[in-house]
């Protein structure tokens, strides 16, 4: 017997692996940490040079993110009642008054509606199409599948101008429906192909057993195929959501008001006299949360989705 083993890595390679993983983690997390930290800095701290790593945390960025303010004269300030809450206190300390709530809440809500709406629609249509492609004799199946895939062979933004014109003609510019349809159109090819792979892996015998057990095809699909495709659906949903959530170019081009999503809105946040970096960072931090939560909730499925089909059950 020797200490050497084929399956167990040596202490040295484990050590190297650990260093590499830590290095990678630091590199990926550093920008994230910087954004989150900036969100809690004051305006001067956020642009100080050399950058401040240790600083007095402040909610100024978040207050600015959610409010529109204007500078007040000393007389106005003196006439104001003492601040009732921390928001008023922060604003008054800087000699400002709140004029109205900012548009961030509405823009964020637009992102949620459009992101999750298009993800749901992509998954709904994608699952049905993938099932049909996987199980039925569809005429021109291979050509159709190739056609669906071919929509991803160029960057979507390459067709921005035709889409812009179409949307204007159809009255879809700056509407939730328009953005949901657009993101669904981009995501559906990915959804169909990914989901078809997952459904192909589910043996037909399960559905056949259900058909004989007294169920219709649609019921068998719902009771037998869907639960087993849950893994694939979850991982596909994450990919769709990440695209729709982060999409910037189309959102910038096609939305300006009612349906504007958070990505084009966040960089336009200006404070009184200059870019309000803490508010921008606060917006970016909040913007990260939904996808993060969604991914964490589905991570069990995601991991299983990656190894799906590799292990015979």
């Amino acid at each position: 017997m020797s200490a050497w083993s084929v399956t167990e890595p040596s202490a040295r390679s484990k050590g190297i692996a650990a260093v590499l993983v830590i290095l990678y983690t630091v590199i990926t997390l550093l920008p994230l940490v910087w954004i989150i930290a900036t969100g809690f800095k004051t305006g001067p701290d956020s642009i100080s040079y050399p950058p401040k790593v240790i600083f007095q945390p402040s909610l100024e960025g978040y207050v600015n993110l959610f409010t529109d303010r204007t500078r007040a004269t000393p007389e106005q300030l003196a006439a104001m009642p003492p601040p009732e809450n921390f928001v008023d206190e922060i604003v008054q300390r800087r000699g400002e008054v709140i004029t109205q709530p900012s548009k961030f809440g509405a823009r964020f809500l637009n992102s949620v509606i459009i992101g999750f709406g298009s993800t749901f629609l992509s998954i709904f249509l994608g699952t049905l199409a993938a099932y049909a492609f996987s199980r039925f004799r569809v005429p021109l199946k291979d050509d159709l599948l190739f056609f669906i895939l071919s929509t991803r062979m160029m960057p979507p933004i390459a067709v921005a101008i035709p889409i812009f014109l179409m949307f204007r003609q159809l009255g879809l510019s700056d509407t939730h429906l328009g953005m949901i349809l657009l993101y669904t159109g981009v995501n559906i090819s990915l959804a169909v192909w990914l989901l078809k792979g997952f459904i192909d892996e589910i043996p037909r015998e399960y559905e056949e057993a259900a058909l004989i057990d007294g169920y219709t095809r649609l019921q068998a699909f719902r009771k037998v195929v869907l639960p087993q495709a849950a893994t694939g659906i979850a991982s596909t949903a994450i990919f769709c959501l990440i695209f729709a959530w982060n999409e910037y170019a189309f959102a910038f081009l096609l939305t300006s008001g009612t349906a504007q999503t958070a990505p084009p809105f966040i960089p336009t946040i200006f404070g009184v006299g200059g870019k309000d970096w803490p508010a921008v960072a606060a917006g970016a931090t909040l913007f990260l949360l939904p996808v993060m939560i969604f991914t964490i909730l589905l991570r069990k499925h995601l991991l299983r989705g990656i190894t799906f089909g590799a292990v015979r059950k």
Binding site: L211, I212, Y215, Q228
Partner: protein
């Protein structure tokens, strides 16, 4: 409970003709075993009856009425698949309850619970009811899938080699159990197997399929004693029937080119001299490998036989089966 009539069933998958003009009448309450090698059309026959596939030609009648237009659910049949038959996302209990919860039956839950418990008891899987279906051994999975057929009382049970993945002991137990269930329920069974013991002990009728055609249909003894061809004759019998040139023995009828000898067709101690090559003690039987004029044959002998390799033994055919050049029975 119903009579099943197959009338000229044909089915092709692409260029492969899986079934060709298969007709048979399965009486109510019969236990029909389909025999044949892989690709003979056994599973296709079950799939056409269940409605999972539609025939290219021919008709399937259950209880006197054609069911071709019916969905599998409407045909009221149960099927046990060879593999992959349990729903992996459900527990054993939910697997067994699945047919009872279908929109067609839709039993009340307390009744389902009782029925599932009963069936689990019979198949000895009651202690596994709360397990995930994928956390079972192969034998347990197969018992659950048999159980899923047994929970309801369908008109026909279709079973596609249900015991093939079980070990010998369990297979013997379940064979008796299935036969008992058949007797108790009086249901019609259609059963596909490779195993001749299953065929001989369970079947009331045996159908032998060859390349999509039904070559013989009858009682197991009938198939064993009166095969219509060498193909059918080799399906049943352990050891297999010996097929030798007809000229080796006197008395060949006109047209016969092969003689078929089962062990009981070989009278020992008189006739032509054969040489003993080997003796195999299998426990329940003792096989004697002989050489006669350069042809090997296998027969049975007494467990305490004094014969050994190199000894000479006289043998004579007794009521043998004769076949022509095409393998068709002459007498």
């Amino acid at each position: 409970m119903a009579e099943v009539v197959l009338d000229g069933l044909s089915k092709a998958f692409g260029k492969t003709q899986a079934l060709q003009g298969v007709s048979m009448t399965i009486p109510d309450g019969a236990f029909v075993v389909l025999l044949g090698p892989t690709g003979a059309g056994k599973t296709t026959t079950l799939r056409l009856i269940s409605g999972l596939d539609a025939p290219d030609a021919g008709d399937v009648r259950i209880g006197g009425a054609s069911v071709l237009a019916d969905t599998p659910a409407q045909r009221d049949v149960a099927m046990v698949f060879q593999q992959y038959s349990l729903y992996p996302h459900l527990s054993v209990r939910d697997n067994l309850a699945f047919p009872l919860r279908s929109p067609i039956l839709n039993w009340p839950e307390p009744q389902i619970a009782a029925r599932v418990q009963d069936v689990a008891q019979v198949l000895r899987i009651a202690h596994k009811l709360d397990n995930k279906a994928t956390r079972l051994s192969g034998g347990e999975m197969q018992r659950v899938s048999i159980g899923r057929a047994l929970v309801r009382s369908p008109r026909i049970f279709l079973m596609d080699e249900p015991l093939s993945s079980l070990d010998a002991k369990l297979r013997a137990e379940l064979r008796v159990e299935l036969k008992r269930i058949h007797t108790d329920l009086g249901a019609t069974f259609l059963y596909v197997t490779h195993d001749q013991i299953e065929a001989m002990t369970m079947a009331s009728h045996v159908g032998v399929l060859d390349c999509g055609r039904l070559v013989q249909f009858g009682a197991p003894r009938e198939i064993y004693e009166n095969p219509v061809s060498t193909y059918v004759a080799t399906r049943l019998g352990q050891p297999r029937i010996n097929l030798l040139p007809a000229g080796l023995f006197p008395g060949a009828p006109r047209g016969a080119t092969q003689i078929g000898l089962r062990p009981e067709h070989i009278r020992q101690g008189e006739g032509q001299a054969a040489t003993v090559r080997r003796i195999e003690h299998l426990g329940d039987q003792t096989r004697l490998h002989l050489t006669l004029a350069g042809h090997g044959l296998i027969t049975l002998t007494d467990a305490h036989s004094p014969l050994g390799p190199g000894d000479t033994l006289a043998i004579r055919p007794e009521n043998p089966l004769w076949f022509d050049a095409g393998g068709i029975r002459v007498i």
